[in-house]
């Protein structure tokens, strides 16, 4: 065993030639293209057609508040790789900006303190801010996906890589053997690549020991004056992410209902009244130990990639390799340790989990 407690060598043994990736998120799109090109698989992407102007249920960053050094170490290598791959899109899909991590309650402040030291140890540009409560850390120069541009260019990018795009209604189902049947054709490996896909295809019961789906909402407000400190903030207490859009509107995603936002954002927003301009509700998988869940559950059918967090996109190149059996040893170890067959609270991978799944 390594010092981290991870098994030394575990690789994904399934490596079929035909793979169905099911999901509409940027992660699903990116993973499909990478499986088709980097790993030369015959890939079908099953997704509901997206449209510009919908409120999307998340944000894709090149950073997330991890505590485990293995994860941060991996991410340090994966972020430049993902950025290089994304730079091949016909339009710029990545921009950069500062991210503010904030913590108010004791558990979140404690977690922030630990992740700050670990991230700083890897040379990440973190800058603790003055003030004790909320405790805040600014992360400089975080990569951020321009989702609208990415998804708009995604069709052409996928087509150029030979990925077959299929509407969700054309998926006949997922078999007990983990295969997908699409318009009479069988794809031996089905990957449920986002929360919505996993929920639709009924893996909730299969994953009950590892976590559960928690209601989340994305709110859009009318424009407000520029936020104090940064236009992008993550509230560790709740896991909510706040982003000020180019128009000045705030887009907030988190595990809340009703019209009350997390208290951690209060002094960022100030006294300006926030008027609702849009609202979308969705479910998000939250693991009991706060760590991602990868692979096929013990009694499950399809392979799942869930709970990856705001930096999910950065893991796509590695997960494509893992699926194809081409991951490096450290990568394979990391994936195996985060496998969907692990115990309910795996001490080797546990992260800070803002939304306790059993709450």
């Amino acid at each position: 065993m390594a010092a981290s407690g991870l098994p030394r060598k575990m690789t994904m043994t399934v490596s079929p030639d035909r793979i169905a990736v099911i999901g509409s998120s940027p992660f699903a799109v990116f993973l499909s293209g990478l499986l088709a090109t980097g790993q030369t698989r015959d890939v079908a992407l099953v997704r509901d057609p997206d449209a510009e102007g919908h409120l999307r249920d998340g944000i894709d960053l090149g950073f997330a508040p991890h505590i485990r050094p293995d994860t941060l170490s991996l991410l340090a290598r994966l972020v430049p790789e993902a950025q290089r791959l994304l730079s091949r899109f016909p339009v710029p899909v990545i921009d950069r900006g500062d991210l503010l991590l904030g913590a108010t309650g004791h558990p979140a402040r404690e977690a922030l303190a630990h992740m700050t030291h670990v991230a700083a140890g890897f040379g990440l540009p973190l800058e603790p801010m003055p003030g004790e409560n909320p405790r805040r850390v600014r992360v400089r120069d975080v990569r951020r996906l321009r989702r609208a541009a990415f998804l708009a260019a995604g069709d052409g990018w996928l087509a150029a890589r030979g990925v077959r795009q299929v509407h969700g209604r054309d998926l006949a189902g997922i078999g007990r053997d983990g295969s997908a049947t699409i318009a009479g054709e069988t794809y031996p490996l089905a990957i449920l690549a986002d929360d919505a896909a996993a929920l639709v295809h009924g893996v909730e019961a299969d994953l009950a020991k590892l976590g559960r789906f928690v209601p989340h909402a994305t709110l859009l407000t009318e424009p407000v004056p520029p936020l104090a400190i940064t236009p992008l903030a993550l509230d560790l207490d709740s896991g909510a992410i706040l982003r000020q859009r180019a128009s000045g509107a705030l887009q907030i995603t988190g595990p809340f209902s009703g019209s009350a936002l997390p208290a951690g954002f209060s002094d960022l927003i100030g006294q300006h009244p926030l008027r609702l301009a849009g609202r979308a509700e969705h479910m998000r998988f939250v693991s009991h130990d706060g760590a991602p869940v990868l692979g096929a559950p013990r009694r499950g059918r399809a392979t799942v990639f869930l709970g990856l967090g705001p930096d999910a996109l950065m893991f796509a190149p590695m997960l494509a390799r893992w699926i194809a059996g081409a991951a490096s040893e450290p990568e394979a170890q990391w994936c195996a340790a985060h496998g969907a067959t692990r115990s309910a609270r795996s001490p080797a991978v546990a992260e800070f989990a803002p939304v306790r799944a059993e709450a």
Binding site: A3, S4, G53, A111, A113, E222, A249, F265
Partner: protein
């Protein structure tokens, strides 16, 4: 706009204004004249102020569905006291200001007012707008009314529902945004075999005014509906100070008789001053005797809008042409237009509109081939219509489903508890259908199964069904925006990028739609997006559910005050972080320095990354000093190296600690 005088058809002959009682008030320091019976908005329009301001350098018309809120000058620091100008009665001595960013005057506009013409604009900088003109929903009500049934909409369906409730001995509160009851029934005209709307409205209103258990609230806008509750907004004048009158109506049963919304054809310049939706124009003419000008044209893909040509003729106004993108529309109204000798143009769409001096220049194109006509039509105003669809905005906001279909959309069969649709909102097209559906809605809410209302429909051979207006061409950067709807969202089609920029560099991604459309959308915006190809039918329902929301205020609770720190413990995210046998130790730094929680501990100064760390500081215990979590294999007195961000320090282990 001008005031109609002289002979008029009966439906326009009894406006609310009293020309014998002129009034005068000020808005943003400018004198406005009107008549008793005017609203602030109608007085502004009658005074020649037809523009709200500019967006992307182009004027945007002042209309009842797009007007800035106004507030008494002394209350300008209390935006919660602002009121919609379309609901605010005009009165002598009002001293009002608009609450919106103003564009700084440039050039001659900086001259003092006596030396220049007053602009026909409120001067609002719509590019800088941060709060939409839609009133905030969900605020604490000033008054709560309770009734057995609440009815939203005072057209034939709503009035019939109220009467049905009254006859059953139920208490009812009806809210109607307009100053008069009856809705658009008379505008739609009467088909053979259908009920005559004018006497029906008169009889219903008389009966309801006499009913002791019915409250009729006109000039009151429903701003939100949820099971058991209707929120509404009116305006009360306290001498010369307007105040919002926020009502909450508690009722177990709610009838939504919200009528129809008229679709705005999407073309560049479709919200320039002078361009009016036909129903809005009719309503202004009916209540305030306002007409957009002596020379107008009509452009419609629905038959009802042709009535404006007939009414114009009866008022002595000129209509230069009536264009229709449909190839062979048939309608009794079109036959009447032929009899009047109007110039009718089929298969013709509006390509764009542009201001022309004080007039309006409209360019047409062939709806099939797209060929643009060389000669624009110069008019004072234009009545436009892209057809009528059920007004389901409140239904959707209450959680009701909306299902798209090729001609538009309809309400889903499942709705929120205790809420029923009636009239045009429920898809009924005739006056008979509206009235019967109003009564049936009350019966359904009471748990009965009434017979299906009968709708008097005309054979499509005689009345060509309306069509959603054809998709507009992409908007060039120099043209005025092509708005999707007529309301406060200002959502508009994306403009094309100049081609030359692409020669030299990768194209920049277009502004994301959520940034182009930062305000809540209206249902008309969504149908405009659908009609113009901006979204597909697959996305319509989701867009409505996500973006057609009442602009409620979001609460941001203050951060909780500092709480007592709980006793130190090993958090779950550090389980087995340093191996299976990790233990808690007390430690001390060589120089007495305090270490922050999370500071990493290494065996020596050589180790480089946190993967090599053998421990981490947990925090400070009041009795035992600094405590750290360490992997196995250490002993009291060991010297290790702690790294607290950039600073390194030697530490000495004390004793093992059990937490």
């Amino acid at each position: 706009m001008l005031r109609l005088t002289g002979a008029r058809p009966d439906e326009l002959a009894h406006p609310l204004i009293d020309p014998a009682r002129p009034i005068r008030f000020t808005l943003d320091g400018r004198a406005v004249r009107g008549f008793a019976g005017d609203t602030v908005l109608s007085a502004l329009l009658a005074s020649g102020i037809h523009t709200v301001g500019t967006r992307e350098g182009h004027p945007v018309a002042l209309t009842e569905s797009f007007a800035p809120p106004v507030i008494h000058r002394g209350n300008h620091a209390r935006p919660d006291l602002a009121v919609p100008m379309a609901l605010c009665p005009a009165a002598d001595g009002l001293d009002l200001v608009t609450l919106a960013p103003k564009r700084a005057p440039r050039g001659l506009a900086r001259l003092p007012l006596p030396l220049r013409r007053r602009p026909p604009s409120l001067g609002i900088d719509l590019d800088a707008l941060r709060t939409s003109f839609a009133p905030t929903a969900g605020l604490t009500p000033d008054r709560t009314l309770r009734a057995d049934i609440a009815i939203v909409g005072g057209g034939l369906a709503g009035l019939s529902a109220a009467r049905e409730a009254a006859e059953r001995g139920l208490s009812a509160v009806l809210v109607e945004e307009n100053q008069v009851l009856g809705g658009l029934a008379r505008f739609f005209g009467r088909a053979e075999g259908d009920a005559d709307p004018a006497p029906a409205i008169a009889e219903l209103v008389a009966a309801l005014k006499a009913a002791p258990n019915v409250t009729l609230l006109t000039a009151t806008r429903a701003t939100g509906v949820a099971p058991g509750r209707v929120d509404a907004l009116g305006v009360a004048l306290d001498e010369t100070v307007p105040h919002p009158r926020r009502l909450a109506i508690r009722a177990e049963r709610i009838v939504l008789a919200t009528g129809s919304i008229e679709v705005l054809p999407v073309f560049p310049g479709n919200r320039l001053p002078g361009i009016l939706l036909s129903s809005a124009a009719w309503s202004l003419a009916r209540r305030f005797a306002l007409w957009p000008g002596a020379r107008t044209l009509i452009h419609s893909s629905a038959n009802t809008a042709y009535r404006m040509a007939l009414l114009a003729a009866e008022c002595g106004m000129t209509v230069t042409q009536a264009s229709d993108p449909r190839m062979a529309p048939q309608s009794r109204f079109i036959e009447f237009c032929k009899a009047y000798g109007f110039r009718l143009r089929r298969g013709t769409a509006i390509d764009s509109a542009a201001p022309s001096q004080a007039e309006l220049s409209l360019t047409h194109r062939d709806a099939q081939t797209g060929r643009v006509e060389a000669e624009p039509e110069i008019v004072d105003g234009a009545f436009v219509s892209g057809g009528f669809l059920p007004d389901l905005a409140l239904w959707a906001a209450a959680g009701g489903a909306i299902l798209p279909h090729p001609e538009g959309y309809a309400a889903g069969s499942e709705g929120p508890d205790g809420i029923a649709l009636a009239g045009a909102a429920a898809g009924f097209q005739s006056h008979t259908g509206a009235m019967e559906s109003g009564r049936a809605a009350v019966a359904r809410l009471l748990g009965e199964t009434p017979p299906a209302p009968s709708d008097v429909l005309i054979d499509p051979v005689f009345e060509t069904p309306q069509a959603l207006p054809p998709a507009s061409n992409p908007t060039a950067p120099d043209r005025p925006p092509a708005y999707f709807g007529a309301g406060p969202s200002l959502a508009a089609a994306a403009k094309t990028q100049p081609a030359r920029k692409r020669l030299f560099r990768r194209p920049a991604p277009q502004t994301a739609p959520l940034d182009r459309e930062p305000f809540a959308l209206g249902l008309d915006d969504c149908i405009g997006k659908l009609a113009s190809g901006d979204i597909s039918a697959d996305h319509f329902a989701r867009l409505v559910a996500e973006r057609c929301v009442p602009p409620t205020l979001l609460a941001v609770p203050l951060s909780p005050a500092d709480q007592d720190e709980p006793p130190l413990a090993v958090p779950s995210f550090l389980q087995r972080r340093f191996g299976a046998g990790q233990q808690v130790w007390s430690l001390a730094t060589a120089d007495g320095r305090r270490l922050d929680p999370g500071a990493l501990i290494y065996p020596n100064t050589d180790r480089a990354t946190p993967r090599d760390a053998i421990g981490a500081v947990l925090g400070r215990d009041p009795d035992r000093g600094t405590l750290a979590l360490l992997g196995p294999g250490h002993a009291s007195g060991d010297t290790l190296h702690a790294r607290d961000m950039a600073a390194g320090v030697a530490v000495t282990l004390g004793e093992k600690v059990r937490l």
